[in-house]
């Protein structure tokens, strides 16, 4: 099997720009640095700055609360997040059901990561969280487990969007096991130093910075280890548009949105679009997960 270097996957120009940026930031690649956002647009120098709390918490895609970007903020105010438990089940030696308090006791750290939505916009979010692997290590995963499936709570009483067949509820997302075990795959417990607002996926969500935003399931109640590839919500709704992997890839266009560029949330009306980076800029950390894979086919 031919191994691809990251420099072969991304265009050289972007790669070099990115390298020089990283160098200029003065940290080594081996040390995984969470408090950095790999952005390259030379013109804009304020892009490392997190998006405002207001934008992060009022501009959301969370279809359980409606399809409008402002719906989650308006409608999730009284969403019940206590009591809450998260089940870890499936291909494990012994399933467990963890109360949310126990999960929140795991030490969270600030992780400033970039969110790239499949619709062609991005935000920089100072999440609080820890690696999913820490949570998965609480169970004994069987050797035949290949995938991890995340299930969002089903609560149509409070999640008015679930009363309509917009998607197959409950929302299902998933990762390959090695993706799930990657240190950048984050269990999010808060943002901006505060507990996670309901509209951002309280009390617990997942965040995978190198994939389009919809891969990062919110308000999770079940984590299931599986043998087969999970039937994820958007892939289920439109397989041609949304693949299982859905890695940020400027070279694979979505039939609706160009993925070559993106709009930075919170920028002025006159700000230009910026170039989208392969793996949302996290290629040095994650490209090896896909060596030998045709990412145009496995979109």
């Amino acid at each position: 099997m031919k191994k691809f270097k990251y420099s072969e996957i991304t265009s050289e120009k972007i790669y070099n720009k990115r390298r020089s940026f990283i160098k200029s930031m003065g940290y080594g690649l081996s040390a995984l640095t969470f408090s950095s956002v790999p952005l390259i647009n030379a013109k804009a120098n304020n892009l490392n700055e997190p998006t405002s709390y207001k934008d992060i918490t009022t501009y959301n895609n969370f279809y359980e609360f409606g399809t409008g970007k402002g719906d989650p903020h308006r409608r999730a105010k009284n969403f019940t997040t206590r009591p809450w438990t998260v089940k870890i089940e499936g291909e494990v030696e012994k399933s467990i059901e963890l109360p949310i308090e126990e999960i929140l006791d795991i030490k969270s750290e600030e992780r400033i990561l970039k969110l790239r939505c499949v619709e062609g916009w991005s935000m920089v979010i100072p999440w609080l969280g820890f690696s999913l692997s820490e949570l998965l290590n609480k169970v004994q995963i069987k050797s035949n487990a290949k995938f991890v499936e995340f299930e969002t709570v089903y609560n149509p009483e409070e999640m008015v969007g679930q009363r309509y067949p917009v998607l197959n509820w409950p929302y299902i997302e998933g990762l390959r096991l090695d993706e799930a075990m990657h240190p950048l795959t984050t269990v999010v417990t808060g943002l901006y130093g505060k507990s996670l607002p309901n509209q951002n996926g309280a009390p617990l969500r997942i965040f995978i910075p190198w994939k389009y935003g919809f891969k990062s399931a919110k308000s999770i109640v079940k984590i299931r280890l599986t043998k087969n590839m999970p039937n994820t919500a958007w892939k289920n709704a439109s397989p041609r548009e949304y693949g299982f992997y859905s890695n940020v890839n400027p070279e694979v266009d979505h039939p609706r949105w160009s993925q070559a560029t993106e709009r930075v949330i919170g920028e002025s009306i006159l700000a230009p679009r910026i170039k989208t980076l392969m793996f949302n800029g996290y290629g040095d950390e994650v490209a090896h997960l896909y060596s030998g894979m045709d990412l145009k086919k496995n979109y």
């Binding site: 934008d55 501009y59 309509y164 609706r256 160009s258 949330i265 002025s268 009306i269």
Partner: protein, 192 residues
């Protein structure tokens, strides 16, 4: 018809402009202002296309010819907002960078069909004057039947660009179907 009706409808039809001006001045366009502006004018284009299509059914229902007098103005507003919609996409979003734009038009069916709808609106806008009605005679009516194609293209454009049909695209689709069904019934009615 009272002679202040037309100016009143004209001023009311500028509503989308008042809104966007207000939001621009008071910084209320939200986190994605460019997107907001494009969508705003896109939706209003569709509303005006549907309003234009409502005049003939209203004429039949109310048995009053008054409605038809607003049809041209509403149609021209539809063209105006369609042009602003397209220009904000071309200018604000893509800054007249035509390479990715052409790519978009050719590769993305929702942009292709939206752009086609705008192109088809041009001959209708040009031939909207009384003089052109006289010059084109019977052909005028034939030409202006293009509005049915345009309305279908417009609603398809909205459906295809939305991640799901719920709910706005669906509402536009239902209203369009009702308005088009009116035409079929009217024709049958005329034949009998």
């Amino acid at each position: 018809m009272k002679n202040y009706f037309k100016p009143a409808v004209f001023l009311l039809s500028l509503w989308p402009i008042y809104i966007i001006t207000y939001q621009l001045i008071y910084n209320k366009l939200g986190p994605e202002p460019v997107d907001r502006i494009i969508n705003h004018f896109g939706e209003w284009t569709l509303i005006f296309v549907l309003l234009t299509l409502s005049m003939t059914p209203l004429k039949k229902i109310t048995n009053s010819l008054e409605w038809i007098k607003f049809r041209r103005m509403l149609g021209l507003f539809a063209f105006f907002y369609a042009s602003v919609h397209m220009l904000s996409y071309v200018g604000l979003d893509y800054r007249f960078d035509f390479e990715p734009l052409i790519d978009d038009v050719l590769k993305k069916k929702f942009i292709f069909i939206g752009f086609s709808a705008w192109l088809l609106l041009i001959p209708l806008a040009i031939t909207s004057s009384d003089k052109m009605v006289r010059i084109l005679k019977k052909n005028w009516k034939k030409l202006h039947r293009l509005v049915y194609v345009i309305s279908i293209f417009g609603v398809l454009h909205f459906i295809w660009l939305s991640k799901t049909i719920f709910f706005k695209p669906l509402i536009f689709l239902i209203i369009l179907i009702i308005l088009l069904l009116f035409r079929i019934n009217l024709k049958k009615f005329n034949l009998s």
